[in-house]
Amino acid sequence: MNLLIIHSIRFFAILIIQALILNQIEIGSGIQLMVYPLFIFLLPVELSIIYLLSISFILGLSIDSICNTYGIHTSALLSFAYLRPIIFKLFIPRDGYDPIVETNIFTLGFRWFIKCFGTLLFIHHLWFFLVEIFKINELFFVLQKVFLSIPISFLLCILLQFLFIKKSNEI
């Protein structure tokens, strides 16, 4: 029960951070900051993928409806959620995942987080910009946007975890 409350608070917090703050920041040269995949990433490992897809559908649609993007965020987030179990299986730690422990940067280590979250975030960003631009002759522009946005989004996700997740809370 406690977990449910934590995750619903996180849902609204990340919605507000993404839609009202980060979507208003403009750095230039097509950089966009997206941290909402972190919410899907931190959901429990044992959660069934059907729930995962439904939650990401709802989160994506609510971000889309606030920033007039008509479903691009939803589509990218759905692919993120669909690939999450596959990537988790690919980079499984030596003793497997503990179902009680949350999969954040403190419990599973910095290197695992870079590998796992980095791959997923790359797929998410690539999908997002491909759908947004949707033209094969602007492929170079897509890649420029992807490779400029990923480092900043990734650093922001790490920062959010250091700010809002208590290290001692985990057992």
Partner: protein
């Protein structure tokens, strides 16, 4: 039948994923073409109210800049009212004029949400169908053209801005009268492109670009920007002209919505005229 059920059971996760993706893509492509519903855009009451709340907090950030623009506009208006002129001729009688008639009606509005870094950028305004706003009306500010109303609900409306892939506003070069379509290539919110001017006419750098008034949306003569670079298109007798917008869309707040009162009359006249009947 059993095989079919086994197939669905095996691939149920992928099928569910594909179903949700299908819904999302159908929303995406139907919104890009023709906006049918409001509940998934920022014109909906829920998102509109959230954005209004945020605008209440952030609208003072550009207060100085916006005030100076309003002041300039006020001075221009003050210059044109009758009391700021000296009457030289005392013998004339004022006659109620029936030669001129209103063609355009203006509504002021405030932008409560905007993006500039996406491929298609939409602005949200704080007026809606209760203020007689309809899709297809033009939006401009004191510095230039902003866009066209795309979709509206009771209290909010969404503007398809000049920073959109296929905005296609009918514009012309003021000096020579050559006309073309305004487009945006998605890279820089300061520059747009003017498409469709043939390369046998000379285009000077810095010449003013204004609306042509052919599309029944804007009157003739609203400024769009200035020519900043010209380049030949390969394989076509056309110029590729890059336009520096005169409006800075990043700090834009106050806009006017323009309603063409004679639009229906013009449309009716044009649709009654036979263009090219196939025989």
């Amino acid at each position: 039948m059993r095989n079919f059920i086994a197939f669905i059971k095996r691939f149920r996760v992928f099928l569910f994923f594909a179903l949700l993706q299908g819904i999302t893509f159908s929303i995406y492509f139907s919104y890009l073409q023709f906006p049918k519903y409001q509940y998934l855009t920022s014109a909906s009451l829920f998102s509109g109210n959230i954005l209004k709340l945020r605008n209440n907090l952030t609208k003072h950030f550009y207060l100085n800049y916006n005030n100076s623009i309003l002041q300039k506009e006020n001075i221009a208006l003050m210059d044109s009212i009758p009391s700021s002129f000296i009457k030289l001729d005392n013998g004339l009688v004022k006659i109620n004029d029936t030669i001129f008639n209103y063609q355009y009606e203006y509504t002021p509005a405030i932008i409560i949400n905007s993006t500039h870094n996406k491929r298609n950028n939409y602005f949200t305004l704080n007026v809606g169908s209760k203020q007689n706003i309809e899709p297809g009306m033009g939006v401009f500010s004191s510095n230039g053209v902003v866009g066209v109303i795309h979709n509206c609900s009771e209290h909010f409306s969404v503007v398809k801005s000049c920073l959109t892939k296929d905005i296609n506003i009918d514009v012309m070069i003021e000096e020579t009268g050559d006309f073309g379509l305004l487009k945006w290539d998605g890279e820089d919110s300061k520059y747009g492109t003017l498409w469709g001017i043939s390369n046998d006419s000379k285009v000077k750098k810095g010449s003013k670009i204004i609306t042509r008034g052919g599309g029944k949306i804007f009157p003739r003569g609203i400024i769009v920007g200035r020519v900043s670079k010209t380049q030949l298109v390969e394989g076509k007798p056309l110029w590729d002209i890059s336009v520096k917008f005169s409006e800075n869309y990043k700090s834009l707040q106050r806009v006017y919505i323009i309603k063409n009162l004679l639009k229906k009359e013009q449309e009716k006249l044009e649709s009654d005229t036979p263009v090219n009947n196939p025989k």
